[in-house]
């Protein structure tokens, strides 16, 4: 290979960069936000192939507040955190909970949504007879009693949970001795197995459950028992970013504060998930 050819190759390789990546202490002017694109109604891909949903609308709103240019891309769930750390994009907004475990690897903004985790079961099952409950238990205090009440209703049942999620950690920790846990790569896989009768219950974010249960196939199923927040679920759903991007974090936090204060998050969440998921303060 001649020198000139090598230079051409090197140039070709450098033009393959993924846009301008925000640098640690420079004020970013352009960022790339990644989402899963397959988690309706939080983030999904519409029939025209465009990304849409609560987090897409919120991301655009936050970018307008920060006055920076944003590109939103979709990435498979499993690849989100590794891709962020190697720099393929700068921010994750994909219904991702802020948890101590994740904080070991990446950083998060303040939460922009708090969405309780809950069970969905057949309406005529023991737990199903409890029906939908608006109760919310914060894992940091009174939730243990609530869990104690649920345990006998779920004894020996098979519960489907998405792998590598906080939901799984929760079920393992609090129901691991009571139920049989089955892990799924995606939420719609455990939804299918619930209808197929292969599992007795699923545990997921209540807003996602509500979206699933709105389908006619799920007419005989219901969200049952209380919702759980705090504790293992961390502080709620936040935007993930690299630890060194502290300036970007400040900017995003300010933008989220603004969106909470002027009711934007309330408006967007009521539009997409039919409830207000605005976090406290």
């Amino acid at each position: 290979m001649t020198i000139r050819r090598m230079a051409a190759l090197a140039a070709a390789l450098t033009t393959l960069t993924f846009g301008n990546v925000a640098h640690a202490q420079n004020l970013p002017t352009e960022i790339k936000i990644a989402t899963e694109g397959a988690y309706a109604p939080w983030n999904f891909t519409n029939a025209n192939g465009e990304l849409d949903g609560l987090e897409i609308e919120l991301a655009n709103d936050l970018c307008a507040r920060m006055k920076i240019k944003c590109t939103i891309v979709a990435q498979d769930w499993d690849g989100l955190i590794p891709s962020l750390t190697v720099g393929k994009f700068d921010v994750i907004m994909a219904g991702m909970f802020i948890t101590p475990k994740r904080l070991e690897t990446i950083d998060f903004t303040r939460p922009y949504a708090v969405d309780p985790g809950g069970f969905a079961v057949a309406k005529d099952s023991e737990l199903g007879k409890l029906g939908l409950s608006a109760e919310r238990f914060d894992m940091s205090n009174e939730a243990v009693a609530a869990i104690g009440k649920l345990k006998p209703l779920l004894k020996g049942k098979i519960v489907g949970v998405q792998a590598a999620t906080t939901m799984l950690d929760f079920v393992k920790k609090y129901f691991g001795d009571t139920v049989e846990i089955r892990e799924y790569k995606t939420t719609e896989q455990h939804d299918l197995d619930l209808v197929a009768g292969r599992i007795d219950a699923i545990f997921a974010q209540q807003t996602a459950l509500a979206a699933t249960l709105s389908k006619p196939e799920f007419a005989d199923y219901t969200i049952a028992g209380p919702g759980f927040v705090g504790g293992l679920f961390g502080m709620g759903t936040g935007a993930g970013l690299r630890k060194e991007d502290t300036k970007l974090k400040e900017m995003l936090n300010a933008a989220i504060d603004g969106a909470i204060a002027d009711g934007t998050i309330k408006r967007i969440s009521e539009k997409w998930v039919k409830t207000d998921v605005t976090p406290a303060k």
């Binding site: 397959a38 999904f44 979709a74 891709s83 995606t186």
Partner: protein
């Protein structure tokens, strides 16, 4: 009531949802077809690159020299032994980390990464090459030794022997095995969905998660995979028939 899932009603519901697969407003037919095209491109390029690695691997494996033989053996053992998904992840994340490090050493601080398609083609090429190497090696050994002697007797040069006598016969023996590897490549291409390339599997997953209609879209994807496998399988069968012209079957 949920005692038994009403399959008949379930099927009727599915028919009602068929418009989601259509090409009109709100239908995702075009997206699925486009993704099927991406699957085909990825598989064909990956398979073609695998041919190069496979040929190198086979010639190493057949070599009487120790180093090429050991390298070829290590290549085959590693990439047939390690889970394909792991290989894909290694190339995707490891590749961009390495490239970024190289770019940094040249003074550029920006992130450098190969597009998902390129990474996917390289990963599939290396994996399928490990399998193809064994196919070519076996096919080479299946060529009658008398063919080498006859070619030498005609005073052909080494390259002429390979090009004119051995490779055409070798390919004939290789086609059934290659057809097998091709099916493997087609299914491996679905694993590339994890690195963000929107091929058929990822598109089906996106549509399933976005509409909450997993059955419909996974069925459609299965159908499209079946069509691709059927058509390309026919290509291999035709090639096999053509290659066998004039051969006496024992």
């Amino acid at each position: 009531m949920p005692e038994c899932f009403d399959h008949k009603k379930g099927f009727a519901r599915m028919l009602e949802k068929l418009h989601l697969l259509g090409f009109a407003e709100g239908g995702r037919g075009m997206a699925l077809l486009g993704a099927a095209g991406m699957t085909l491109i990825l598989s064909v390029l990956g398979f073609a690159l695998g041919t190069v690695f496979g040929a190198l691997g086979a010639s190493g494996g057949l070599s009487s020299k120790r180093v090429p033989k050991a390298l070829a053996s290590a290549y085959g053992t590693i990439f047939r032994g390690v889970p394909d998904l792991l290989t894909i992840y290694l190339f995707y994340y490891g590749g961009s980390v390495a490239l970024t490090a190289i770019a940094r050493s040249f003074g550029s601080g920006n992130f450098v990464g190969l597009p998902a398609l390129v990474t996917g083609v390289i990963a599939i090429g290396i994996i399928s090459g490990a399998y193809q190497a064994e196919v070519y090696r076996g096919a080479y050994l299946a060529v009658e030794p008398g063919q080498f002697d006859a070619a030498k007797a005609l005073a052909l040069s080494r390259t002429q022997i390979l090009r004119l006598v051995i490779v055409p016969q070798l390919l004939r023996h290789a086609i059934p095995g290659l057809s097998n590897v091709w099916q493997l490549v087609l299914k491996d291409s679905a694993l590339i969905s994890v690195i963000g390339l929107v091929e058929l599997m990822r598109q089906a997953q996106i549509a399933a998660g976005s509409t909450r209609e997993p059955f419909l879209f996974y069925f459609a994807a299965a159908g499209l995979y079946f069509v691709i496998a059927g058509i390309t399988g026919q290509v291999f069968r035709t090639a096999e028939t053509r290659a066998a012209r004039g051969i006496m079957h024992r």
